[in-house]
């Protein structure tokens, strides 16, 4: 395994989106870990210590806030880089997420996958092309 490869955890219940964005990150040379709800995401985050995490908000059983609140209780997790991405734009939700600690909030439908990858590369200090 390439030790320079960055690892991204994507927590998303919509499988078509999860697979699509994962493929894009893999295509751009990332290692991808997939999770389908908050608890699944939390287990994988604490086990894999990814360099970057995308978490959806509305998911069945355990949502994005369950993930965030529990992640921040962990020694490693309290500093993990997280972007919340969702398709519902609710100011209270954004405020709540920002209070817990997220790098940014993204409205999924506004973003091209290539721009999402570019943003992650910038945050991680990786070289970007184009």
């Amino acid at each position: 395994m390439d030790t320079l490869q960055k690892k991204v955890l994507i927590i998303e219940d919509e499988i078509s989106i999860l697979n699509g964005i994962s493929d894009k990150f893999i295509h751009e040379g990332f290692l991808v870990v997939k999770a389908i709800n908050g608890q699944d995401g939390l287990n994988k985050a604490l086990a894999e210590h990814p360099d970057f995490i995308f978490v959806d908000n509305l998911m069945p059983n355990t949502d994005g806030f369950f993930f965030l609140e529990n992640l921040r209780k962990d020694d490693w997790g309290k500093n993990a880089r997280v972007i919340m991405w969702t398709n519902s734009y609710d100011s209270k939700m954004i405020e709540r997420a920002k209070k817990i600690g997220i790098l940014d909030f993204m409205l999924k439908s506004e973003w091209e996958y290539r721009d999402i990858v570019k943003k992650v590369k910038e945050i991680l200090g990786m070289e970007t092309s184009g």
Binding site: N87, S91, K92
Partner: protein
């Protein structure tokens, strides 16, 4: 008895009698006058009595009328009390109905939010996969494939825009959107919005002239709303100005307001459409022809937003000559507004 005396006596007597007779006559005359006067007085008295009788009758009638009025007043008062009670009940009913309407509004907004979330999810997936094919992540594509994928991408983006516009309409109609003023540099906002339109401006060979008043201070405004205003005005100017036309954007201030103006040499708004241009879903015929993809919601949304934050929007336009849209924002900035939802941007 002395004759002379007698005669004299008689004469005196006659004289006296004559005097007496005259006096009597005078007295009679006076009596007659007095009698006449008495008769007149009696007549006058009779007149007065009759007048008094009339007055008394009038007073009696008036008293009767007053009594009737008092009774009527009493009955009206009773009726008014009943009406007041009914009004109080109605007011309570209206208040309840309003409360119900408000909760229905909130429910409606929630429904629109959830529906838009559900609609966006498949569109997001479609956008992602189309983007990867266009990026040639799976290998090279030919020109025709690129054209078709481009079409899929465009209509998909239109759907996403439409959902966003409908969400914003719901939020401005219900007044649930948030206004969070911060210090904003308008020059920077314009610069970044113009970058978004850079490709279209170059494609159409439009001349864009941007100017700012001297020593323009930072404005206390909601950044998203400010961006939305410039985005909408510039997007319309770019869309509805033919190739090689020009767009002039100016920001200045007067004693009370920041004044933003965006002028173009475009198709203009036909006179018969000008009064409807800010109406929800309205599109002028020439705009519909030039750009069938518009939603007819942009100007409606920004007008409602600008007015709800204390500003104004207006325009001058002549068909085939161009339009100038003006927006004023008070110097002391946009009014802060609590709410549950943010307006969404492209």
């Amino acid at each position: 008895m002395n004759k002379k005396t007698v005669i004299s006596t008689n004469d005196n007597t006659i004289l006296k009698l004559k005097v007496l007779a005259k006096k009597k006559e005078n007295v009679r005359g006076k009596l007659v006058v007095t009698a006449k006067k008495l008769a007149t007085t009696a007549k006058e008295k009779e007149g007065v009595r009759s007048k008094l009788a009339v007055t008394a009758e009038t007073l009696r009638l008036k008293a009767k009328q007053l009594a009737a009025l008092a009774k009527e007043k009493e009955s009206i008062k009773g009726k008014l009390e009943i009406t007041a009670k009914k009004l109080a009940v109605t007011a309570k009913e209206i208040e309840l109905a309003n409360k119900e309407l408000r909760s229905l509004d909130v429910a409606k907004d929630e429904f629109v939010s959830i529906a838009s979330h559900q609609l966006r999810t498949p569109l997001t997936a479609l956008k992602g996969y189309t983007g990867m094919l266009l990026d040639e992540d799976l290998g090279p594509i030919n020109d025709k494939q690129r054209e078709y994928l481009g079409e899929i991408k465009n209509v998909n983006d239109r759907m996403i825009d439409l959902i966003m516009a409908l969400l914003n309409v719901s939020r401005v109609d219900l007044g649930v959107f948030v206004v969070e003023p911060e210090l904003v540099n308008l020059e920077k906002v314009v610069e970044s919005i113009l970058k978004e339109f850079d490709m279209k401006i170059k494609d159409k060979k439009l001349k864009v002239d941007v100017s700012f008043g001297k020593d323009l201070p930072l404005i206390s405004a909601d950044l998203k709303i400010t961006r939305m205003i410039f985005q909408n005005l510039l997007s319309n100017a770019v869309k509805y100005t033919p190739n090689e036309g020009s767009i002039t954007l100016n920001v200045k201030k007067d004693d009370f307001n920041f004044i933003i103006s965006v002028a173009d040499t475009g198709y203009g708004i036909p006179e018969n459409s000008q009064s409807k241009i800010f109406t929800k879903l309205f599109r002028a015929d020439n705009a519909r022809t030039k750009d069938p993809s518009g939603t007819g919601l942009g100007l409606y949304i920004i007008k409602a937003t600008i007015e709800q934050t204390g500003g104004k929007i207006w325009f001058d336009s002549k068909e085939n000559q161009g339009s100038t849209f003006y927006v004023s924002i008070p110097l002391n900035g946009m009014k802060k507004k609590e709410g549950t939802k943010r307006l969404e941007l492209n």
